[in-house]
Amino acid sequence: MSAPAPTSVDLVRTTATAPAPTPAGPPPRIPRFLRRLPVRVLVAVLLVIEIYPLVWLVLGSFKTQNEFLTEPSWALPSRITFDNYVVAWTEGDVSSYIRNSLLATAPALAFIIVFGVAAGFALEVLVWRGRNKVLLAFLVGIMVPGQMILLPLFTAYFKVGLAGTLWPLIITYTAIGLPLTVFMMATYFRAVPREVFEAAALDGASVLRSFWTIGFPMVRNAVLTVALVQFFFIWNDLLIALTFITGRDLRTIQVGLLTFSGEFGQTAYGPLFAAICINVFGTLLLYLFLNQQVMKGLTAGSVKG
């Protein structure tokens, strides 16, 4: 988000109202502090509402079953122990859920980026008839609800013999991720001056060469942003994973967590809280380091709703 450039309106208004008197000096100290108080209280309440549930979740993950049933839920755990995490990780199968999620997410992400960036380049930088129609065709895919493609795909994967593997997830995630990626990459390539590629062409670089050595490096930051957006969509997906994964051993973390409470008979709170925490911390950690890119990317991808 860059600072807004002065627009024509801006210039007209400032000249019309020139010489703008500067605001009077800072108001006295104590009234200013009191004046800021409502805002501070408001912000504090806001942050408590947004953050406290997560703190509560983490505290819960350290509690014993007995503490859950006898103490109020806001009470602090009597001691910090990672027993619940161990139980969730091993007996609760969270380790295998996480592994499956990684095995499905990583290849899908790679396919989306490689195919999507190349397609964005072909649709925005290269010059050919019908490219706008193809871009529009991709755009339609952003709006199609997943439910509209589930049944044919389920039938197809079943017939081809891919059921029982992670491939249905990888293929479907790739296809669903492509429209938004192509759309966003085309937008980013639009910001690169055309002269760059024309000069490269004059110097005798082939299209593939100028894509690989000029185009791709120039949109590197955009690629990271798009990859983050797609990572969150794929990692947090429930619908696709729930549809195509029937066996217990291939469940992703979201599907696994959904059935987690059921298998423990709804009473093993500690391990459940620990499993939720494990699921949350991956994305939280990513957000901790890359929050600016994540915010930029997710809001840019808001067309997807």
Partner: protein
């Protein structure tokens, strides 16, 4: 030069894979799904041609009305909630916190990235009543109110879903709308202040009209997304109590996979798609940003 940038072989190599995957795994299934609405049966036991029987079933299926009603009610309430609160937050960022708003923006945004299933399970525990009270009921006790069985009645279950989704997404809409507010030229605000407009009057007469376009886009994005709600409802209430909080997406899923009726499942998916498509047309008509540029 243009002949180089129009190299056919390069176009095929660069665009080919994406277009192939997209056509085979998105476009073809959409058409196939349309065809499925004319059949009865499923992948395991085969299909029978039934013509427009599935479409006729729509007309007198009470559950489709209830699911459609829930979907629309959810989309409208959530959209009003998250866009309104998001807008108020963005006003807070721009006019009250100003430069200091960065950290608050980042913190309020963060629930957006959390997995829906995790958030839903957390809210289930927060609103629990048995075998022990959750955080919310404990808070009610402080005010002398008895525990509420939040997931026991359709109305309270609906409001828990609303609270959860607005909690999750208001920070997202705040950042989206913040970008629009920051774009309002400082000069306009400054001259309005000089003319004596302050506080509420400044927002009402200057800021609100100027941020209408970005508000409109936010509303449309929000409706488009909320019509497809699935994860949060499934993980939080499972569609219950009864079928009272079952959106179209979940009804389609149950029809197809619990009852093995692919034909009627596809028909419900079609209803959902038509609904989204209507909103999509709105996107093209009224949003002024990148999307219309693509149409060129």
């Amino acid at each position: 030069m243009h002949s180089v940038l129009g190299d056919r072989k390069a176009i095929v190599i660069l665009l080919g894979p994406a277009l192939l995957v997209y056509s085979l795994v998105m476009l073809a299934p959409v058409l196939w799904s349309l065809g499925l609405t004319l059949f009865d049966g499923n992948a395991l036991f085969g299909f029978d041609y039934v013509g427009f029987h599935n479409l006729a079933t729509l007309a007198h299926d009470p559950q489709i009305l209830s699911s459609l009603g829930f979907t629309v009610k959810y989309a409208v309430v959530i959209t009003v909630g998250q866009v309104l609160l998001g807008y108020l937050l963005s006003l807070l960022y721009v006019f009250a916190l100003r430069r200091a708003s960065g950290i608050v923006r980042t913190l309020v945004f963060f629930p957006v990235v959390l997995p829906t299933v995790a958030v839903a399970l957390m809210f289930q525990q927060m609103f629990a009543i048995a075998p022990r009270d959750g955080l919310v009921n404990e808070l009610l006790h402080v005010f002398g109110v008895a525990s509420v069985d939040w997931f026991g009645s359709p109305d309270t279950a609906f409001w828990v879903i609303v609270v959860m989704d607005v909690w999750r997404s208001m920070g997202f809409y705040a950042v989206l709308l913040y970008a629009g507010l920051v774009d309002i030229p400082e000069g306009i605000l400054e001259s309005a202040r000089l003319d004596g407009a302050n506080g509420w009057r400044l927002v009402r007469h200057i800021v609100l009209p100027l941020s209408l376009p970005v508000l409109l886009s936010a509303v449309i994005f929000s409706i488009n997304g909320t019509l497809k709600v699935f994860d949060s409802v499934l993980a939080l209430t499972g569609g219950g109590p009864g079928e009272s909080t079952t959106p179209l997406t979940l009804y389609m899923f149950q029809t197809a996979f619990t009852y093995g009726d692919y034909g009627y499942g596809s028909t419900i998916a079609l209803v959902l798609t038509m609904l989204s498509l209507g909103v999509t047309l709105l996107v093209f008509r009224s949003s002024r940003n990148d999307i219309t540029e693509v149409e060129r």
